[in-house]
């Protein structure tokens, strides 16, 4: 059996196992936590045997619907490898973070989480556009139910908006994919290699750009297609928010790199200016809004828009430094956002509020939480020697090569990020204790483990990011080579 098929199927197996778990709620969550480690261990095994220079590896190709040219074609290159590492690393952390929260009907909750993991892995493995599309849409269904059934007060309205928004985006992509399919010579096929060899006119590429861009821009989200995001992130249960912010939005960025750059490079070149401008506007816009947020979770949601705006801008420069920066920043952002959302979750669980003005002075009594919070915040404001810096430096560098003025605006994130992060940190942690802060009890063991792991990853990959960069580089070079 091929390694990539196993990588794909393991989360599915976790899902079925979780459905049939019985016993107490806490046992269900612990059991889920335990089985979620299996894909992680297997990923590490696959990573050790992975040769970054070796192109697409571990591939598996099964003629699924031969008459329509649909193949279950999956495989791994360096980029996919890292995205799968991110996914399988974060899922156990996300589950561990929620172990002590009371979640009604945990079997359903965790099996949906695993279904989502399955779909995400599918997206990152697919080498067939049809399969890619199936997994892309499949990923939406579990998160829809997670938000709808376990979300906050206004979940019905917000979830519907989220669902319609992202679904309609995807439809444009479907049109694009079908069009590309019809262009393949002979018996039409959805295979990625056939797409790579298409000779598309610049007009075709021009409109195809928008078909794909809309789908990806909504998912990431890029300004001005982002308005579903703050509501959804704020209202979703923490594990759902972490899945969305930590992993799912990377589907969009990954999609641009895998499906847009090599297939419609001219389309990107034509619209790159518009796309990068939108991304950069989004960085400044979202950072400004983050400055005046009162709810900490919502503040992180906006900061996330700013961060992914920078990543997307770097991707659209179509330059190796930008792509490398984007890859490393996807990993960093995934880890950091899980840490930040957990901080928000801990605040709410212990003090019953996330409002900045109701909190304060927690540093007086919670030394460990303070240290961990500071490290995660530093990763998020991209201090050198934390993981956030590597990506930000490379991304800004490549944007600068594209257009210096654009980079200066994008670079405002350096300043504004510090302002909103320090401001919120100060009002939550420093000063005198408020009524709400006095309710803050020491961290539970699971919270502490997750935060410690996140903090360690932030520092280790910030001091020594080179192994990750090396895994990604050959695959990204290959993608850029195809774009030429």
């Amino acid at each position: 059996m091929s390694e990539s098929l196993l990588l794909l199927l393991l989360p599915l197996a976790s899902m079925f196992l979780t459905i049939f778990f019985s016993g107490e709620k806490s046992m269900v969550s612990r059991g889920s936590m335990a089985i979620s480690l299996i894909p992680l261990l297997y990923t590490i095994w696959a990573l050790i045997h992975f040769n970054p220079e070796g192109g697409v590896q571990y591939s598996f190709n099964y003629a699924w619907i031969p008459s329509l040219g649909i193949n279950l074609h999956i495989g791994l290159d360096g980029l996919s490898m890292l995205m799968i590492l991110l996914t399988n690393f974060l899922v156990p952390l996300i589950i561990l973070a929620s172990v002590n929260r009371s979640i009604p009907n945990p079997n359903a909750f965790y099996s949906l989480l695993f279904l989502m993991q399955f779909a995400l892995i599918g997206v990152f493995l697919s080498l067939d556009a049809f399969v890619f599309y199936i997994f892309w849409e499949l990923a939406l269904i579990p998160i829809y139910f997670i938000c709808l059934l376990w979300g906050g007060e206004s979940r019905v309205r917000i979830t519907l908006k989220f669902f319609i928004y992202t679904l309609s985006g995807s439809l444009f992509m479907l049109i694009g994919i079908i069009y590309l399919y019809l262009q393949t010579p002979g018996v039409h096929t959805f295979d990625i290699n056939a797409f790579y060899q298409l000779n598309l006119s610049s007009q075709e590429q021009s409109w195809l750009f928008w078909a794909f861009f809309l789908a990806f821009a909504i998912k990431i989200p890029i300004f001005p297609f982002h308005t579903w995001q703050p509501d959804t992130y704020t209202d979703a249960p923490t594990a759902g928010t972490m899945m969305l912010g930590g992993i799912m939005l990377k589907m969009g960025i990954y999609g641009i790199i895998r499906w847009m750059i090599p297939v419609i490079p001219q389309g990107i070149l034509e619209w790159q200016n518009v796309a990068i401008t939108l991304c950069v506007i989004g960085i400044v816009y979202a950072s400004c809004i983050a400055l005046v947020q009162k709810d900490y979770k919502r503040l992180i949601a906006y900061s996330s828009i700013a961060h992914v705006g920078l990543i997307s801008a770097g991707v659209f420069t179509m330059n190796i430094i930008g792509l490398q920066g984007a890859t490393i920043q996807m990993l960093a952002h995934g880890v950091n956002v899980v840490g930040l959302f957990l901080v928000a979750d801990i605040l709410f669980a212990k003090t019953n509020t996330r409002m900045l003005n109701e909190l304060g002075g927690i540093a007086n009594s919670q030394r460990i939480f303070t240290i961990l919070f500071v490290i995660i915040m530093l990763g998020s404001v991209a201090l050198p020697l934390t993981n956030g810096f590597v990506g930000e430096f490379l991304l800004l560098n490549s944007i600068f090569n594209y257009n210096a003025i654009m980079a200066a605006f994008a670079g405002l994130t350096v300043i504004l990020g510090a302002v909103y992060m320090l401001r919120s940190y100060q009002s939550i942690m420093l000063g005198n204790e408020t009524e709400a802060s006095k309710r803050f009890l020491p961290l539970l063991y699971n919270e502490q483990i997750v935060l410690v792991v996140v903090a360690i990853v932030i520092i280790v990959t910030g001091v020594y990011p080179q192994p990750l960069l090396k895994i990604a580089e050959p695959s990204l070079r290959a993608i850029l080579e195809m774009a030429k």
Binding site: F389, L396, V414, L430, G431
Partner: protein, 638 residues
């Protein structure tokens, strides 16, 4: 890795280990152990630094390198985590570890009663680590890592007593203002990379030698880097964080906000001296900003009544002198003043700390007076510091400041004007420093009865560093004797190999000029000392209460209302815009557009659905209309 590389690596590594040890074990440690680890790690680093510097100065090796690993590689960008000890970083190393060690020792006394003793020392060690990274990095990005790291430590230490909101705000302000500069630094690095294809000092400076003078890109690089320096070294317009940074514990002010971190900008420009030499425009800008800052800050210093604020503005002012020197191309002179300033300003701050300690936390000089009797060592060392900063021969500040004035005088782009302004600034420096000195140590005690009962000289852990620094403030200047004395200029000779083009546009001053300069400054200083003595000691003038101030004095004591100005032209508008974006644009315009599209689709389909009436007649009617339209269309267009 050979032994020499290991030694290089140990210099920053030891403080990092000290940080980790004290930071992780924290409350489980006794204060004695904490202090021992913190001071000991810096002391060993200092010893290693001395050893390496002696090797370099004796010519055994020109520099020492240590490459740890490759750090970030992407595309054609390759960055190593690598360190270098060469002549320029050697000087900084000695200052950082030497003065740093003394301040660590001082802190064991000063912070002795603080509950968060271990946290304090772990931050202080971390600061030294980042500062060493900054000066030892062998490429711009490692330097930048140290650069941002010291900013972080500065943030943590200014807000060390984090229950106090004002302190926290000061800390945040420092970090954010530094970040404004850092963006300039970042963009400067990107431009360097796009021009030279590398960020390694060696490669960049080697390639730069082939560039022509006046190259526009190089000017842009220099200006962007200088923006970074403005933030870190508190120059106009990014200086307002430094006076607020005095919220931190006083030893922190001495170490970070006087002796080391704030001189990072000077170090950075001295390091990039080849680039600045190639760009006379950028040089002029650096000089002009430096001179303006020196003057401007000194005027504010005249009317401050907080002992630390006076010293803070004097730091801003002295940093201005250093930039003036760099701007006119006298890089080693700038470094010279960095070193002497590190001695006397650290000394002054530590003395101030000793005074504040004795005064039970009081910082207002209007409530002091006559302290010389109760604090004899502090008094004497403070006097030495004052004489050094005011440029009284033969104290350290005299030599470096004299050299700056001479070099600026020889500068062809308005050097005369700059010289006059800086000379006048020296006069002001003497005025505010002696005002501070007389008011604090002479006259009658003006504090409360309670304070006067508690007045005492500080313990030995505090006074010993004071005495050592006083010795250096007295004799430190001899490393750079003026031409006039025909003694070797140790520092210039030491730095010469690194400062390749130095002196290209700075002329050597003539002997008569030197003599006139020295003679005038002695006479003027004597007059100022007498005049200030007359008003603050003989007439016992005490500065008026804040609310009594009128006119320009009020403007000065409010620091020209610059903070208020920034508040009104930057902070408030930014918040207003952000609120507008968040509460209106986001909700109604962008989300509104989404709902608009949604509405259009729903209503559109609802209208279209109405056409499906089920009446065959209506459908036939539609068909007929359609056919007619097709014919019409064909007829006119086809």
């Amino acid at each position: 890795m050979n032994l020499k590389s290991l030694l290089v690596l140990l210099i920053p590594l030891l403080p990092l280990l000290g940080f980790a040890f004290n930071g992780l074990l924290n409350k489980n440690l006794s204060k004695g152990i904490v202090g021992l680890v913190a001071c000991g790690s810096i002391f060993i680093s200092f010893c290693i630094s001395v050893f390496l510097v002696l090797q370099i100065s004796s010519g055994v090796a020109s520099q020492f390198d240590c490459t740890l690993t490759d750090w970030i590689s992407a595309g054609n960008l390759h960055l190593n985590l690598s360190f270098v000890v060469d002549r320029l970083s050697a000087i900084m190393l000695l200052v950082i570890t030497g003065v740093g060690f003394l301040i660590h020792v001082y802190s064991t006394g000063y912070m002795h009663d603080d509950d968060d003793y271990a946290r304090y020392f772990s931050y202080l060690n971390l600061f030294v680590f980042f500062m060493l990274l900054l000066v030892m990095g062998s490429n711009f990005v490692v330097m930048f890592a140290g650069w941002e790291g010291v900013g972080l430590c500065s943030y943590l230490l200014i807000g060390f007593w984090f229950k106090n909101t004002a302190y926290n705000n000061a800390a945040k302000k420092a970090f954010v203002m530094n970040r404004i500069g850092d963006l300039g630094f970042l963009l400067g690095m990107f431009l360097i990379f796009s021009k030279f294809g590398s960020l390694d000092f060696n490669t960049v400076f080697e390639l730069a030698k082939n560039a022509s003078t006046g190259d526009v890109t190089i000017t842009a690089i220099c200006i962007l880097l200088f923006i970074g320096a403005m933030g870190k070294s508190a120059q106009i317009p990014l200086y307002t964080w430094l006076p607020d940074a005095m919220a931190g514990p006083t030893p922190v002010s001495a170490l970070i906000h006087a002796a080391t971190m704030v001189t990072a900008g000077i170090y950075m420009i001295a390091r990039s001296n080849i680039l600045y030499t190639l760009s006379p425009e950028a040089g002029l800008m650096v000089a002009a900003v430096g001179v303006a800052t020196a003057f401007f800050a000194a005027t504010i210093g005249l009317k401050q009544n907080d002992i630390k604020k006076v010293l803070a503005y004097s730091t801003v002012s002295q940093l201005g002198y250093m930039f003036a020197a760099l701007g006119v191309g006298a890089y080693s002179t700038g470094m010279f003043h960095v070193v002497t300033h590190a001695f006397f300003k650290a000394l002054l701050f530590l003395c101030a700390g000793s005074v504040i300690h004795a005064m039970s936390g009081e910082q207002d000089i209007r409530k002091m007076g006559g302290l010389r009797k109760k604090l004899p060592i502090t008094h004497l060392t403070f006097l030495i510091g004052t004489l050094a900063i005011t440029g009284c021969p033969p104290f350290a500040g005299f030599f470096s400041k004299d050299e700056i004035l001479a070099k600026v005088h020889g500068y062809e782009n308005g050097g005369m004007l700059m010289f006059i302004i800086l000379s006048f600034t020296s006069v002001m420096t003497a005025v505010y420093m002696f005002r501070l000195y007389w008011l604090t140590f002479w006259g009658d005690f003006r504090g409360s009865h309670h304070q006067s009962e508690h007045l005492h000289e500080s313990p030995i852990s505090i006074t010993v560093p004071l005495v050592i620094l006083a010795v250096f403030s007295t004799f430190g200047g001899f490393m750079g004797m003026p031409e006039l004395f025909h003694a070797p200029h140790f520092l210039n000779n030491f730095l010469e190999p690194i400062i390749s083009f130095a002196g290209m546009h700075s002329h050597e001053a003539s002997e008569t000029f030197e003599i006139t300069l020295i003679a005038t400054s002695i006479i003027v200083l004597a007059i100022i000392i007498a005049a200030t003595y007359n008003s603050y000691v003989t007439k016992q003038v005490v500065p008026e209460e804040d609310f009594e101030e009128r006119g320009f004095a009020k403007v000065l004591s409010h620091k020209y209302y610059i903070d208020e100005l920034y508040e009104n032209i930057i902070t408030k508008p930014l918040q207003a815009i952000s609120r507008l974006l968040g509460n209106f644009i986001e909700k109604y315009v962008i989300d509104g557009a989404v709902f608009g599209v949604n509405w259009l689709i729903r209503n559109g389909s609802a209208t279209l659905r109405l056409l499906q009436t089920g009446s065959v007649g209506f459908y036939v009617f539609g068909m007929v209309i359609g056919v007619i339209l097709i014919f019409v269309f064909k007829f006119f267009i086809g």
